[in-house]
Amino acid sequence: MTNSASERRLTSPYHQKNFFEKTAEGFKKNRSIFWFLIPAMAFSLIFSYIPMFGVTFAFKDTSFNDAMRRHASILGALIYSHWTLNTFASIFDNTFWAALSNSLIINLLKLFLIFPLSIILAIQLADMKSQKLAKLILIILCIPDFLSWTVVIKIWTNFFNPDTGLLGRLLAGVTSGNHVTYFEASFKPLFLFYAAWKGTGWGSILYYAAITSIDKSFYEAATVEGANLFQKAIYLTIPSIGATIALMMVLSISGFTSVGLEQAQLMLNGASYYEKEWTLDLYIWQLSIGDGAGVNYVQAAAVGVFNGFVSLFLMLTGNVLTTKFLHEGLW
């Protein structure tokens, strides 16, 4: 009797399946594709989750560094070195604050100067009479994004060279070579300029696609109403692509502590007086790999953990913001 009752219960369309029944059914249905997950999960486990245990390095004293320099095994070093909180207390020195504030300032400037540039560029291109020409311009503007940072920096140092460079000689004629000392002393404007030169064109593709998909009749109506291009851009285009802008803004804020190791490395490495211009990426790199002399694994791990938690916080905040305002999470 009970048997048929439970059978009836299972086959009844009104029956709410419980968690175990659902899971079992899901397994049964997906059993031949469930193993698809295994390779990706294994790679994540080995190269993302196991390194996360490296958080513990930040709570070790310098005997861990010595063990690592002797190429002892990591587990052994973890067991035999002492636990301490001093490493964490000692990371907040001047170099660290300078590096953190440099990263934040550069990213803020990027957000206020370079980020709108892509949008303005996309609006200009989408407004052009000949869309073929607009696409050609876009294709040209995208080229620098496909060059490596080495090539980009080399091209511009060559261009700015006061003896042989095309613009450098012109500038040297006007400033009698002062622009070189200026460039060396002030690093952020040049850093931003290179970043803008490399990324603006590629960054505008998304906005260009969003703008060209706006209904043309809105623009016709606005024209009849006598709106000029500027008014159309402010009151029509930007509100229409607001979701895309917000999403990209949140994504860029999520990576706010990082400015790209390669560019900072190329522009700042080598000269010690650049130390006050270091970014956080470069500071961590100097501490953990560097030129071998100043390597301090525990301090690097501590700064890395701090950085990890700040970016985690920013990412989660970004996700909350997008879920709230765009009704879609980042993932």
């Binding site: 059914e25 899901g26 397994f27 997906n30 594709i33 698809f36 997950l37 990706a40 999960m41 790679f43 989750y49 196991i50 390194p51 996360m52 490296g54 990591i74 560029l121 200009q124 291109l125 009479k129 696409k135 876009l138 040209i140 503007l141 995208c142 620098p144 490596s148 940072w149 080495t150 090539v151 080399k154 511009w156 060559n158 003896d163 042989t164 095309l166 000689r169 030169w197 064109g201 593709i205 998304l206 260009y208 696609a209 969003a210 000029n228 291009l229 500027f230 390669e262 490495n269 961590i284 790199w285 790999i289 690097a300 700064v303 890395g304 970016s311 985690l312 990412m315 989660l316 993932w331």
Partner: protein, 312 residues
């Protein structure tokens, strides 16, 4: 160039208005001004991109005695820099070129294959522990413990100064996984159901039906992986010493060539005089693989970049 285009548009609209064939709507004077300024700005941007590129890469074809006079074309053509690069003196360059080819190829194939495979079960709503497994992947994107642990891990695997350290740590790519997942979710259920009724197993369903449908997504994800792996050397900065010339990716080799002390050149007169030109030539060769896939970028732009607007 920019100015002439601006003038052209201005005169065109002028004639347009005089003939009175256009719509009756009066075009505000502000618009003409804005369009002109906008064209000048765009023209300036195009010049800002093209001139430094041509200026630098014409060094590759130029006679070094005239390097200073180059504007955007070589002054006197000279291919000896390329001859040097193709001679036995530049083994390191070609070794790193091959390394980069291997890294790019292996990472692109394996990474995209396993991420797409993992995305497929996750796109099924009845997949058990779907949310949990998704979080398992997303957490790796959210939090990382920095470069020390991964460096020490690779050291204990004995993979330092080896291209496999770069390959292994680049394979996991959660961004692509989410991209594939959102595409697979958009595949209509009816197609898969029809194939199941016809007797296709899940494996056949995935490789014969779903993957061919997802080819544009594969194309764009693979394209981004290729560009990242070819141009990026952040991992190489961590895992490869500047002295390990045998196991460098190309971008890193060029970085080392550009920044390191050039003391060894003092024994090589040709290298000394042609330094800039050889560097330009090697940079030019290094971007050829990217130029080969650039038509894909053009297609991507022309198709309206719709793939880019798929939610990440």
């Amino acid at each position: 160039m920019g100015k002439s285009i601006a003038l052209h548009i201005r005169s065109a609209s002028f004639f347009h208005g005089r003939k009175g064939t256009g719509p009756k709507v009066h075009q505000p004077v502000v618009d003409v001004v804005i369009r002109t300024i906008s064209m000048v700005i765009l023209g300036f941007f195009v010049i800002l991109i093209i001139v430094p590129l041509l200026n630098y890469f014409s060094l590759a074809f130029n006679d070094p005695t005239y390097n200073e006079n180059v504007i955007i074309f070589p002054i006197r053509w000279d291919f000896s820099s390329f001859a040097y690069l193709f001679s036995s003196n530049s083994e390191g360059f070609w070794k790193s070129f091959v390394n980069s080819l291997i890294i790019t190829l292996v990472v692109t194939v394996i990474s995209n294959l396993i991420e797409a495979m993992a995305a497929y079960p996750l796109s099924k709503l009845d997949c058990p522990f779907r949310k949990g497994i998704l979080m398992y992947f997303v957490i790796t994107m959210l939090f990382s413990a920095g470069i020390v642990p991964i460096y020490l891990l690779m050291r204990s695997f004995n993979l330092l100064d080896n291209i496999w350290s770069i390959i292994l740590c680049s394979i996991s790519n959660v961004f692509n996984l989410l991209f594939y997942k959102s595409f697979f979710e958009s595949v209509p259920k009816e197609i898969e159901e029809a194939a199941t009724v016809d007797g296709a197993g899940s494996l056949r369903l995935f490789f014969d039906i779903v993957v061919p449908m997802a080819l544009p997504v594969f194309g764009s994800c693979c394209f981004f992986t290729i560009v990242d792996m070819w141009n990026g050397y952040g991992a190489a900065l961590i895992f490869i010493k500047t002295s390990a010339t045998d196991s460098m990716p190309l971008a890193y080799y060029l970085y080392v060539m550009m920044t390191q002390d050039t003391s060894k050149t003092q024994y090589d007169i040709f290298l000394q005089t042609h330094m800039d030109n050889i560097q330009a030539a090697s940079f030019l060769i290094s971007i050829i693989p990217i130029l080969l896939i650039y038509p894909y970028v053009v297609k991507y732009i022309k198709s309206g970049a719709t793939l880019g607007s798929v939610k990440e």
